[in-house]
């Protein structure tokens, strides 16, 4: 796969990014980065249960959408969803607590890392079966369209997901119904361990397929938070106004393995190093300095995020394990699990 990213024709340089927004983009990327790193440290301390899929290296996408979205918009993400959930404002202690199987977890320990959800912040679930959440996002968009609320559903997924049937059905369905949904393919070049080019008939798994749904082909640099932000604003604005869905391919790279269990030995020599140079947090920091923000401002942000992560960690660590009552709770809306009288 050629990972050079052409500038897409609709990059909307006219979308101005103000200084406050730029700081917020940086702050959020740092927050996602530090929190994922903390999650990783907590594995090493054996405090995280089950699996975990980090977004290290991919933060620009979740952060840019987090900043661009309206509070009442909806996020749908995958098992690799810590960043997307946090980016909507979910409690960090809730996220870390859930990874650790604690009572304070967003899901009270019932969902785990792969199912982070915070409905009050519009994070409408993390879905662990490839492709399943694409039609669900379409359905949320349908409900916004039906009620005329101008909300947008944003749906994140990986390159590998473009080869499953639900991708195809959802894109066609959304296009035909002109739904306000933005599909964001984070192309990090790999499914679990298999390079995407080995299993995909086109070079760009999402962008090269947009035309099959009558959509514009959008291919952007997923490590450039500004590029993602501009594209997000443009696509969401159009969707809100009834212009229908968008499919964005944002090229990026994950710094760590697919999941906790993966040392990522399948990567060719030098690939990681090359991508570390294009680390989104690093790039953005340099850009801000270049734009005249001071080192001090950035360090303040970093220090504040560190504090936040430390605090969240402390809360999560102090939280007890969930009560066993939870096992038979919340299957049904009455709060219980009874299947009989």
């Amino acid at each position: 796969m050629d990972t050079t990213v052409k500038r897409k024709k609709t990059e909307s340089p006219e979308i101005e990014i103000g200084r406050e927004t730029r700081l917020e983009l940086y702050r959020l990327q740092v927050e996602l980065r530090y929190c994922e790193k903390r999650a990783y440290d907590l594995f090493l301390q054996n405090l995280v249960k089950g699996t975990s899929h980090l977004s290290l290296g991919q933060e620009a996408i979740a952060a840019a959408f987090g900043v661009a979205m309206r509070p009442d918009d909806w996020t749908f993400c995958t098992y690799r969803g810590h960043a997307h959930t946090l980016a909507r404002g979910a409690s960090m202690a809730g996220v870390l607590g859930e990874l650790m199987g604690r009572e304070c977890g967003l899901l009270g320990g019932k969902g785990g890392s792969m199912h982070l959800t915070d409905v009050t912040h519009g994070a409408m679930g993390s879905y662990a079966i490839i492709g399943a959440h694409l039609p669900v996002a379409a359905g949320a968009a349908w409900s916004a369209q039906y009620r005329g609320t101008e909300q947008v559903a944003v749906c994140f997924f990986g390159d590998g997901t473009t080869n499953i049937g639900a991708f195809h059905e959802s894109l066609n369905f959304s296009a035909v119904w002109q739904l306000p949904v933005v599909f964001v393919c984070e192309n990090n070049l790999y499914m679990e361990y298999t390079p995407i080019h080995a299993v995909t008939a086109v070079k760009n798994p999402a962008a090269d397929r947009a035309s099959a749904y009558g959509l514009e082909s959008i291919l952007i640099d997923g490590n450039d938070a500004d590029a993602v932000y501009r594209t997000a604003v443009e696509c969401m604005t159009r969707a809100r106004k009834g212009g229908g869905p968008a499919l964005i391919e944002a090229v990026t790279y994950r710094h760590s393995g697919h999941s906790r269990a993966d040392p990522a030995k399948y990567r060719p020599d030098g690939e990681l190093e090359k991508w570390l140079e294009r680390d989104p947090v690093k790039i953005y920091r340099e850009r801000l300095l270049h734009l005249g923000f001071t080192e001090g401002t950035l360090q303040d942000i970093e220090a504040e995020v560190t504090r936040k992560v430390d605090e969240a960690t402390a809360i999560a660590k102090a939280s007890p394990t969930p009560s066993l009552d939870g096992i038979e709770r919340n299957v049904w809306a009455d709060g219980g699990a009874a299947w009989r009288n």
């Binding site: 969902g111 959800t117 959440h133 359905g139 949320a140 349908w142 059905e169 809306a333 299947w339 009989r340």
Partner: protein
């Protein structure tokens, strides 16, 4: 009371709920302009317009996924999956997404939705269009499962399903669509999770579902008149929640249980009922539990083959005479 067919009771139930609640929307393949391939939704498009009654592409995953997404954001959608066999192409959305969402999110997400589907044999459609798959759904925690046998139940249970805050899989029996029955006038609303005792006897309790209810009633009639065997007939109506109280108390009264299932034998709902009964009222049983089911084969299509595969009135009579006495 008006006389309605089972199929018209479907349309009437949906219409009643759509009139009542603007959040109720309806989607599926060929359901709007054409009124459904079983003509069970004729007139809805005309009454409620294309914004609320929508034709879909052949994309069952998209249909049920969209249903789920709409339900979690404030609508109360009703989706049609044309034949229950096709649940297999969207089984992930049913079994892994819809059924588990509330639990996994510890109650954050609520899914008030209904999936209607045409279930069962009798139309010579062959193995891919005739299955009774209610047991697939019953095996998955988190989804309610309803299967009415009478037009009045169709309307009342459908309304109850739409108003229920949890997802409901609503099995309509293909072979019953043309059946007529009395349906109460005015608003009609039933309760999920209640079995009905349709006939009381003293020798044996027959528990049946959907099309098999009618065959059980036919058999009970013959057994009583011609063989002096008096049977209770229980219409289960709802597999989840399951009205074990009614079933157990009726079994205790007769001391014998026979289930009549249209599904192939293995892991049918009757197995579950049998296991509950032997676990909880073993000492009240006067003899073995008998399950009358379709043999464990895919369904053949030719008329005589199909008729001799699913349980018939004659077979029910014969097996009960042989095994209960």
């Amino acid at each position: 009371m008006a006389e309605l067919t089972y199929r018209d009771a479907v349309a009437a139930g949906i219409a009643q709920e759509m009139e009542r609640d603007e959040r109720v929307v309806f989607l599926g393949e060929d359901v709007a302009a054409a009124g459904g391939v079983f003509k069970a939704t004729v007139g809805l498009l005309e009454k409620f317009g294309p914004r609320r009654v929508r034709d879909c592409p052949i994309s069952e995953q998209a249909i049920l996924g969209a249903t789920m997404g709409a339900a979690m954001t404030g609508l109360r959608p009703i989706a049609e999956i044309m034949f229950s066999d096709f649940l297999a192409v969207c089984w992930d959305i049913v079994a892994n997404e819809i059924a588990k969402m509330r639990y996994m999110t510890n109650g954050q997400i609520q899914l008030p939705l209904v999936i209607r589907t045409a279930n069962g044999a009798g139309s010579r459609f062959g193995a891919q269009h005739s299955q009774s798959v209610e047991n697939w759904a019953m095996a998955v925690p988190g989804i309610k499962v309803v299967a009415p046998a009478f037009p009045a139940d169709v309307k009342g249970l459908l309304a109850a399903a739409v108003r229920d805050p949890d997802p409901v899989l609503f099995f309509e029996q293909k072979s019953l669509y043309a059946m007529k029955g009395e349906v109460p006038d005015g608003e009609c609303i039933d309760e999920l999770g209640k079995a009905n005792v349709l006939r009381s006897g003293k020798d044996c309790t027959i528990v049946a579902l959907a099309a098999m209810v009618h065959r059980a009633l036919g058999a009970a009639e013959i057994l009583e008149k011609e063989h002096g065997i008096s049977c209770t007939v229980v219409d289960v109506r709802s597999l989840v929640p399951l009205d074990t109280r009614t079933i157990l108390s009726e079994v205790v009264k007769t001391g014998r249980l026979v289930t009549v299932e249209e599904n192939p034998r293995l892991c049918g709902w009757g197995a579950e009922v049998a296991s509950i009964v032997t676990e909880e009222c073993f000492w009240d049983l006067d003899g073995p539990i008998v399950r009358i089911t379709t043999p464990h084969v895919p369904l053949p299509s030719a008329d005589q083959l199909e008729d001799n595969t699913i349980p018939s009135v004659e077979r029910i009579v014969r097996e009960i005479r042989q095994k209960i006495d």
